[in-house]
Symmetry: C2
Subunit: 155 residues, 2 copies
Amino acid sequence: MSTEPLAAVTVTAVTRTIYPQPFAQVVAGRSKRRLGDHFGLGNFGVNLTELAPGAASALLHHHTRQDEFIYVVAGTPTLMLDDREYLLQPGDCCGFKAGNGIGHQLINKSAAPASYLEIGDRSAGDLPFYPNDDLHVELNADGNYAIAHKDGRPY
Amino acid sequence: MSTEPLAAVTVTAVTRTIYPQPFAQVVAGRSKRRLGDHFGLGNFGVNLTELAPGAASALLHHHTRQDEFIYVVAGTPTLMLDDREYLLQPGDCCGFKAGNGIGHQLINKSAAPASYLEIGDRSAGDLPFYPNDDLHVELNADGNYAIAHKDGRPY
């Protein structure tokens, strides 16, 4: 873990996802630089996330306990709030308050890469909810995710 | 509280400080747009903070429980980590892990405004510590700050 400042784009980008297929395909082309982890932060995460043309940040989802916030650094990603669309530009931001039940997702519908900072806290007992997709995700006590259909069958 | 995205610079900027004189003078020229509060976020704060030439973010300080993170949006603020200086530029970032005892402060030593995003969680029981200044700050149960000299005398 580091304590010295650096250019955010020099932090290693990772592309892994916990989503099973076919959902993993939605976030193909998404990469995250885990800036908060780089500095050993424990209470919240900060990622510099890039979406290639066509890529999405996640499935449309909302959280029970985790607040989230995004700030656009480059490009023109589209923000979905349930079925409403907002075309964003650099300097735009949005917050997603835990428990408000509004689904959110960023999709890069443009022909150029888009990048943004995303912040989320690490409140215990948080559950994400995916209103449009047959996916149930839970964080087990061992720190691993349990990934299942909504009827409980594992993927 | 809002749920719709907007340009961060359109959020109202505030300049108030909890510091008594002479410390309030250090942050004269600092203004904060409370982006997280605009969206009703409770678990962490996100501010777009601007420093006029000569202004500082805060006194040099560190926290017992609150993680902090900054990302430079414009200008060239100088980051102090104890007595070390780092000249930052847009796209640079740094994280300040709770409890590591490293004092941090941003000072705009340039002739142009500098702005950055700052994120801090709201962990209960946090205490800031000011290694270079005779200031003790504590958050009371009523949500107000108690501001005192280090020997307990109030300002």
